[in-house]
């Protein structure tokens, strides 16, 4: 459930735009295509987790790769976490900046978001999970309301012809959603804290399939409502969709999107911050939480504000470099670790 919120929150806004740009009317298939990739990722995470039920990824890197190489790999993974949370923070502020508060400086939005997320992260995993649990019904409700109201404007004919330009654009469109829902790999960090590790695989699959289906659905609706070209040019097609809805007196539903977006992002950023703090504690053997969170706060504020000067650049990073980096850490690194673990003959351990 937690993972569902984590994935959907970013997915909702960006995915339709980028996938549709590449794959045009077949984009919904691209969104669906991303699902198996993420499932592989989950499978790897689960296999690793079963072998090291009491350790996080950062810890068993060292067991498998030796002290220095292991630390390096774990550090790389930490950087990946950093990259995700920083990009998410930035995306969020961009969105708010463009859609709602054009005069508010981005750094202010970043700071407020981070303060709230760190507040949750300090409170720990249990609190974050409960927040996710609390907002999930509201979250789903909002998406369903918007999607169903948008159906009035949808023209299913826009979805044809299927795969006009062959399979290549579809696959290239699938990369981003795949990396997004592939973020499920972070369960490797969560394994030791989960009370019932046997259920991880099941819950993960449910979360992934639901996210995949919802992403597909949203893409379908975006295309059906706006046609194959327009959503690709819009930065956030889903918001435009919500704004576009006019059903009797119900109109201007962006506030629902803002609701989904803010709540989801807070959960997402806080879980990443939490994982980062855990990883830092384990890699550098630090104890003082205040210092770690202070550092995290500063790093995020600076890095989410400075490097990108406008949302186009953020989107560029997302489309050009991001899939590659993500695939390395979501598929290649875990696969490599699992391979080494198998070579070393690490058995599946049943946790009592």
């Amino acid at each position: 459930m937690l993972m569902f919120v984590v994935i959907m929150s970013t997915g909702v806004l960006v995915v339709p735009s980028i996938t549709i740009e590449r794959a045009e009317q077949s984009a919904w298939f691209a969104a669906l295509l991303s699902l198996p990739v993420a499932l592989i990722s989950l499978g790897l995470a689960n296999a690793l987790g079963k072998r090291f039920p009491r350790k996080t990824l950062a810890q068993y890197c060292e067991t498998l790769l030796g002290k220095y190489l292991g630390k390096l790999a774990a550090f790389g993974f930490l950087m990946f976490l950093f990259a995700v949370s920083i990009i998410v923070t930035r995306e969020f502020s961009d969105y708010i900046n463009i859609m709602l508060m054009p005069e508010t400086p981005i750094i202010l939005l970043n700071v407020i978001l981070l303060v709230i997320a760190i507040y949750a992260a300090v409170k720990g995993l249990e609190v974050i999970a409960r927040i996710a649990q609390f907002i999930l019904p509201l979250f789903l409700g909002s998406i369903i309301i918007i999607a169903s109201l948008a159906l009035f404007d949808a023209k299913l004919g826009e979805l044809l012809p299927f795969m006009e330009h062959g399979l290549v654009p579809v696959i290239s469109g699938a990369t981003l959603p795949a990396t997004l829902i592939g973020q499920i790999i972070i369960v490797t960090m969560l394994f030791p804290m989960i009370r019932t590790p046997q259920k991880v695989a099941k819950a993960g699959i449910v979360a992934l399939v639901c996210s995949g289906i919802f992403l597909t659905l949203l893409t379908v609706i975006s295309i059906a409502a706006f046609g194959p070209k327009l959503p690709g040019d819009l930065l956030f097609p889903f918001v435009t969709l919500a704004r576009y809805i006019k059903f009797v007196t119900v109109q201007r539903l962006e506030f629902l999107v803002v609701f989904i977006w803010v709540s989801g992002i807070v959960v997402k950023v806080s879980i990443f911050l939490y994982l980062e703090s855990v990883a830092i504690m384990q890699i550098f053997a630090l104890k003082n939480k205040a210092i770690i969170f202070g550092l995290l706060f500063m790093v995020h504020t600076v890095l989410a504000t400075l490097p990108f000067s406008n949302p186009q650049e953020t989107n560029l990073v997302l489309t050009k470099f991001w899939p590659l980096i993500s695939f390395v850490f979501e598929l290649v690194v875990p696969a490599g670790l699992l391979f080494i673990a198998l070579l070393k003959g690490q058995k599946v351990v049943l946790r009592k």
Partner: protein, 519 residues
């Protein structure tokens, strides 16, 4: 330790009663020196050799009639039971076992115990030549009659409310729970007030861990005085600071009993008419005892109404500020012209207007509470009608903000828990500020902050947002809605109850078989 802070003038705490009558009298007079309300009454007991004796009691706490007609009469007027001679050696025993016709008679052997008991409303009887004292219960004195609970009135349901007297409160609970499984453990806290605190629970229903936790937390208290529930409430809470009430209180015995029956623990405090209930969750703030006395559909609808009221009380002013100052595009076109017309030429921004009016309203409310009822009404007339009307007519504020503040006020009164109302007021102001700085996003951030705070709270180990987060499906039947009684077969799991089965299944109304029913 407190004892070091306020050293007790009596060096020997457990000074034994002496054989010498005069020494005892002197020692006790010393203890109660300058206590004008302590009565020493010396007399002589009829026997072969007249025995000197005295009784000692705190006059404000005792019933004179009991002292005169039962205690003194039985000691003074009789010549002793037949065939038994009262002597120095057997006086205490004979009096205790054969003469005094009162319910609670015990024997004490030290001055400290006499002192404690006398201050609780007992009378102590000391007799020449014996190193023991008889202590009898002669409690009395004035107490408030049982009234309808002021703070939680109801239309249907019992009209008795807790009072300040400890025994009366215990009576009100015991009358409803006629089982030996209902336990009450009494502790005494407060160095100077010696307040009795009773931990009441249902054995086999309440979780022993919770009960133990409650006892331990109360045992930890080391304070000079406990005058009201909040004295201990803030010391036994899970969090040092919390915006929301983590411990519930009630003035209604029926509510206290239903809590005990759900597996919760009720803490009864002497001289307080508001027992505490733990653990308590967010949903209990929105429940009133009456919910269980009305038709379940109506009760569910009322609960939903309260949730809407809660949201209005929390959000309405903030949303108004956000919409008017940041997102005018959200208003329908027809409304925007009306509103902008009404706001033409006003000196203050909408945020300032609303803050100003909310502030005025809080002032009025506070003034109304502190004043006698009659004057309070005058205040609300002047405040509500005159100031509101005049401010609009004078062109200082727009009618919109007056309407918003008024609706908010009404909504905030429909939240049953007063304590929750206070935290709502505080959060409302914070959200107005957030909205005036960042608009809708500010509100969202504020709400997320509140949510994180709520999620992190626990009340005696129970997550505050249960049964929503963590989700307990079976408990949802008594949360936002109130399912019919025949459906409430299990006690809420969130209280960590031991025995969750409340009643048998399928006790719902059944239609009589065709032809089988009486006409």
């Amino acid at each position: 330790m407190l004892k070091e802070l306020w050293p007790n003038p009596k060096a020997q705490q457990k000074q034994l009663i002496l054989v010498s009558y005069d020494e005892n009298l002197k020692a006790l007079r010393q203890v109660f020196n300058l206590c004008s309300d302590i009565v020493f009454h010396e007399f002589i007991i009829n026997s072969e050799h007249p025995l000197r004796a005295f009784i000692l009691y705190a006059s404000p706490l005792c019933d004179y009639q009991i002292i005169c007609e039962q205690l003194l009469k039985s000691v003074l007027m009789s010549n002793g039971p037949k065939g038994v001679k009262i002597t120095k050696a057997n006086a205490i025993e004979v009096l205790k076992e054969k003469l005094i016709s009162l319910a609670e008679v015990v024997v004490a052997n030290n001055l400290k115990e006499i002192e404690d008991k006398v201050l609780q409303g007992y009378a102590a009887l000391l007799i020449e030549g014996s190193p023991l004292a008889i202590i009898v219960n002669v409690k009395g004195g004035d107490k408030r009659a049982i009234n309808e609970p002021d703070s939680e009135p109801s239309i249907r349901g019992p009209k008795d409310g807790f009072v300040e007297d400890f025994e009366t409160n215990m009576t009100l609970i015991r009358r409803r729970l006629k089982t030996s499984r209902f336990k009450s453990i009494i502790m005494e806290k407060g160095e100077l007030t010696k307040t009795k605190i009773a931990v009441c629970y249902m054995e086999g229903v309440a979780n022993p861990k919770v009960v133990e936790e409650v006892k331990q937390r109360i045992a930890r208290i080391n304070s000079d005085s406990i005058l009201e529930g909040n004295y201990i409430e803030e010391m036994i809470m899970d969090e040092k600071f919390s915006l929301f009430p983590l411990i519930q209180y009630t003035e209604r015995p029926d509510k206290a009993c239903s809590s005990i029956l759900q597996g919760r623990v009720v803490i009864l405090i002497e001289n307080s008419n508001m027992p505490l209930i733990v653990p308590s969750t967010f949903t209990t703030m929105l429940q009133a005892a009456e919910d269980y006395y009305h038709n379940s559909i109506a009760a569910s609808a009322i609960r939903i109404l309260r949730i809407i009221a809660l949201n209005l009380a929390l959000l309405l002013p903030a949303v108004t500020v956000a919409v008017f100052s940041f997102h005018q595009e959200l208003l329908p076109p027809e409304l925007i012209s009306t509103v902008s017309g009404a706001r033409q030429g006003l000196p203050l921004s909408i945020a300032l207007e609303i803050i100003l009016f909310e502030f005025t309203f809080e002032l009025l409310r506070e003034a109304g509470i502190r004043l006698p009822k009659k004057i309070g009404e005058a205040i609300s007339t002047v405040g509500g009608l005159v100031i509101g009307q005049a401010a609009v007519n004078a062109g200082i504020v727009s009618p919109i903000s007056v309407i918003v503040v008024a609706i908010t006020a009404i909504a905030s009164f429909s939240v049953p828990n007063f304590e929750a109302g206070i935290s709502l007021r505080f959060l409302r102001f914070s959200l107005i500020l957030a909205a005036s700085l960042l608009g809708g996003i500010g509100i969202m951030f504020g709400l997320m902050g509140i949510l994180i705070h709520l999620c992190s709270l626990r009340s005696f180990g129970v997550p505050y947002l249960a049964p929503f987060a963590p989700l307990v499906l079976r408990d949802l039947k008594d949360s936002i809605i109130r399912a019919p009684w025949w459906f409430l077969t299990t006690r809420p799991r969130t209280n960590r109850a031991l025995d969750v089965i409340r009643q048998g299944d399928s006790q719902g109304p059944r239609k009589p078989k065709k032809g089988g029913g009486q006409s």
